[in-house]
Symmetry: C2
């Protein structure tokens, strides 16, 4: 696996599967110096358009022996683990949607801190509730592009930011960076815990009953990662018992969250249907990424969003 591919003679041939691309996506390939083909046998690159559906990927690759690079459409590629061959170069949408998702994190933090969720549900004037984000201690799980996009949004609020990541390498802009094994410790004085990491076997269930118990009773949980990062039953219990201050979940486990699930009627829980980026926001961003990666593929430049097959993200 390598991010740098040999320069091409002529425009690289790009296949879209499992369905044809939009006109604007086709234009993005051409703007990047590529050409769209429809027969796998002609293809050198594949853009896979089904973000949660890896079925058909194997047969497509088998039918396209000249395919060397596969672009996946989402940042989270957990459904594709087990399908990542080592003879292809894989890129994901990592970083593509970071700005809208970071904006969603701030929206959710502020909505919960300023009690907007409760006020939105009220049908009459009520008393003052709310806390400032200004000066809060925000613990962010994940050292990726969402975190990179989030820190500038938090900067004017003079928050103290702790980044929790696989390794404790310093993260630019954070006040401190710790490894995932220190999560319980840093959660203990968090005003908010934000989950913004990739789902791997290492991070699955990271926000468990122990972490929730460590959080102060005013602290918020925000999840824009994957539902399976959080133990849903433990979270439901913590909210019901009031041992944490509230939750804002853009992803759930199970997802979609079934009708009648107790979190739908939990006063301190906001659930949004996986809209950290909506198609309306995301499609132009993905097209821009495809255009740039096709350009790099054509000229032998390093591709953006390379998947680390061994790490699984």
């Amino acid at each position: 696996m390598s991010g740098t591919l040999r320069p091409h003679d002529g425009p690289p041939a790009v296949l879209f599967a499992p369905h044809a691309p939009r006109v604007s996506m086709r234009a993005a390939v051409e703007a990047g110096g590529g050409r769209v083909v429809t027969d796998p046998a002609d293809a050198e690159a594949l853009v896979w358009l089904a973000p949660r559906d890896p079925d058909g990927l194997g047969p497509t690759l088998a039918a396209g022996p000249a395919i060397r690079w596969v672009q996946l459409p989402f940042a989270g590629i957990d459904p594709f683990i087990g399908h990542l061959t080592t003879e292809h170069t894989w890129t994901s949408g990592k970083g593509v949607y970071a700005e809208p998702v970071a904006e969603m994190v701030l929206a959710m933090l502020l909505a919960q801190l300023r009690h907007l969720v409760g006020y939105a549900r009220a049908t009459r004037w009520s008393g003052p509730v709310g806390t400032n984000l200004h000066g809060a201690h925000v613990v962010v799980l994940g050292g990726g592009e969402i975190t990179r996009a989030l820190l500038p949004l938090l900067a004017p609020f003079h928050c103290r930011v702790t980044v929790v990541r696989r390794r404790d390498e310093p993260f630019a802009g954070a006040d401190r960076t710790v490894g995932l094994d220190a999560l319980v410790d840093v959660a203990a004085d968090a005003d908010a815990v934000v989950v913004a990491m990739a789902l791997t076997e290492r991070t699955r269930g990271a926000v468990d009953a122990r972490v929730l118990a460590a959080m102060p009773d005013h602290a918020l949980l925000v999840n824009v990662g994957r539902g399976a990062h959080v133990d849903t039953d433990a979270l439901t219990a913590a909210l019901a018992a009031g041992t944490i201050g509230g939750a804002a979940l853009d992803v759930t486990d199970p997802e979609p969250l079934p009708e009648g699930h107790p979190l739908w009627s939990e006063p301190r829980c906001l659930i949004t249907p996986h809209v950290g980026n909506t198609p309306e926001m995301g499609v132009p961003l993905l097209e821009a990424r495809v255009r740039e990666n096709v350009r790099r593929f054509a000229t032998g430049g390093p591709l953006i969003g390379l998947v680390d097959v061994a790490a699984g993200y």
Copy 2:
């Protein structure tokens, strides 16, 4: 009226009315170099603690002939217009609460743009809705401290900001500044209109049916100024007809908004009960301002938050 008062011999005598101060407020006066007195006849300064109630102010001033300075507790002093004597120096809480209120504006903008109000009211998984704040055109009515505190919060979103103020003097950090008479023009391509100005005879009803009609059908109205800045009936009609995208009102007219008012059941309206700053947020901020103004009063420095009696704010 002057912001600079003669230096005192000894600690200036500060009276609180119409009720006694909290322990922490008393400590703030002492930390500023003053002393708290309880007899108006002894007082050189008055801190008036009833933000919406000017009754009793006149008799208190009449009983305190040595009172030269009056500190009012809120930024908006519209209930006190008509009570502002020219023989006293008046200061308001202007700027004191700007940071929490600016934070509230951002919270409301993001909550409405990202459809969090709608999602908060949902009881099941639904489809993707939402727009980014990133790159939006935000029209801010008011060239005061809230606007000054808001612009740095908007900066990371690369918004285009138009400030509308009494005069069209440039406002630092805004892309352009226009006078109030240009409001209809600039509202016509706004993604959001934010009301953050003082209520005066000039600004009352500024957001009327004409302005609402000029706004694009996706545009949001956010009001953290005073309810009377907005024509409530015209707003209710615009929301019902869908000629604007939504509203977030921290202040209403009438206020409190009566139970059963159609805005309570309007899907695209968020109402919060005047909590741009809550007492929990605001009290420490006001105490810090009182401490600083007492220190300045004691040493003859210019007071902060001077009221322009003629302009009424």
